[in-house]
């Protein structure tokens, strides 16, 4: 249970970073921290104490306790999606830097109201 709570704290650390940081790159890092905390959370859901890898070795010999493979499959997908989002965010951040010559959010304010 302690691990789950620490995972949640990591999620909140990321959220705090997204809200308070004023540098584009730091905002992107904070979003990645949120994402990693969720990856950890999913792996923890699938964990069983003393569980083995969920592969049938010999014909029909099922190990007594196996970890849940489904969250692992899910998190592989989520990591790929996270990669796409981060890559797009970084590409936009670089473009913004070329236009404004700064990574500071307070300097980037063409849109108001």
């Amino acid at each position: 249970m302690v691990l789950f709570i620490m995972c949640f704290i990591l999620f909140l650390v990321g959220l705090y970073g997204v809200i308070t940081r004023r540098n584009l790159i730091k905002i992107i890092i904070a979003l990645s921290i949120m994402e990693y905390s969720l990856n950890l959370f999913f792996i923890l859901i699938g964990y069983r104490k003393g569980g083995e890898i969920p592969i049938l070795k010999d014909a029909g010999a099922v190990p007594p306790v196996v970890v849940d493979p489904l969250p692992q499959a899910m998190i592989l997908t989520a990591i790929v999606i996270g990669l796409a989002t981060t890559a797009l965010l970084l590409a936009i951040a670089i473009r913004l830097y070329r236009k404004y010559k700064t990574f500071d959010v307070s300097g980037i304010n063409a849109l108001k109201g």
């Binding site: 999620f11 979003l31 989002t85 797009l88 936009i92 473009r95 913004l96």
Partner: protein, 503 residues
Amino acid sequence: MEALLPLFVVIPLGFAFITALLGRYIPLFHRIAIPLVFLFLSVLSVWMMANLRETVLTYMVGGWEPVNGIPVGIHLSADGFSVLLLVIINSLAFLSAFYSYAYIEQYTSGHYFYALFCLMVAGMNGVAVTGDIFNLYVFLEIAAIASYALVAFGIKKEELEASFKYQVLGGIGSLFILFGIGVLYWATGTLNMADIHKIIGSTAVSPGIVFAGVLLLAGFGIKSAMVPFHSWLPDAHSSAPSPISAMLSGVLIKSIGIYCLLRFFFNIFTASSQVAYVITTLGVASMVIGAFLAIYQWDIKRLLAYSSISQIGYVVMSAGIGLILLCNHGDIHVAALAIFGGIYHLMNHAFFKGLLFLNAGSLEYRLKTRNLLKMGGLASSMPVTSSTSLVASMAIAGIPPFNGFFSKLVIIVAAVKSGFYGLAIIAVIVSIITLSLFLKFQRYAFYGKPSESATTEKDVPFSMEGTMILLAVCCLLLSLLIFPFFRNLILMPAVHALMNATI
């Protein structure tokens, strides 16, 4: 018929790759092929709607049959509500893609535009047909990432800034949704929607499920831009190219926001009246605050974007009233009326707001500005744009005989019948504010003192004109849905699909 369900995802996804590869070498390929693809898909979805009625289709991806009644593998399923959403998505995608034929000449690399467009529609169709919550997240992210890139398509200062803001807020929303899905899987041990509903219904309410509900409400609240979470919408929707604004405002916030919200809180969770009150409050807040913020805007597309927040508020409010009645064991017929009003307004809003954004796109195409103060007197030089935008403005403001009048009337009648007189009065007042908004739009853009460009401009090319006329006709025809014959054919299956699980 269930074998048709994967086509709605596979065809746009395949054309996204084909367009990105071939578009550079074969000029005009994407500009002609993509509208035809969406025309085919919209005809297919209308055919499905005509044949589906009250049944539920299930397609098992990869042929994984359930073992001992427990579903394994991913299921695609379609009921009345998903098929209605498919019709809205694909018909609006067809019209926007056809409109883009002339509009896209302003940009370079048009084939990437069409590739991203197909990707976005594939994601939205996937959200509509999926029956598995993690698969829903994946499709939602496909649609969202494609829309982030499309918002930045103009790569000017404003577009990039809007896209960054949209991505950060949309990213937080997606992570909340992923977190909620994880907690839901932890609490129930399955990802299939019908299975989760069965397990939640048979056990006592656990804190884990309540926590998942809160996370999902926040996540989909951000995606559908309800009022505390709305700050990204005006920037993103006004900076995108106009056909994309029409898709974002008309379809995207509905399919990955409202649709998922209704699906989760009506069909998956056992509804509790606290959640229903929260949803109604969010709806009322968006309705009022969106309308007031819109009054101060002088940029046409920002004005339209704020009014989208307000109109989405109507949909959420009436669905919330329906949910409150269902939880408190109120009158089933009034609840059905409220949900019917919400879904009807959702469909109408897709068409008139799509049309208004395309009108704004035509003005921008000719005048190269979006500022209302720099326009005026365009009614004589741009007759088609002017008359179609008049139709759309009357529809959104709720003037009979256009569709917006009937859906707002149903919502207000449902609010009165269920005893929420205050909400009915607020809905009427917001409707009057909306009318004043669109009078301002008409007055400054098309009437009043002619600007210097008013006499020299001519109307827009055929593909843009034709699309706007088609949409204006749709706005008029959709008011037929109030009659029982059309209502039972098109909208009632969706209402029953939402209510069946909750009763």
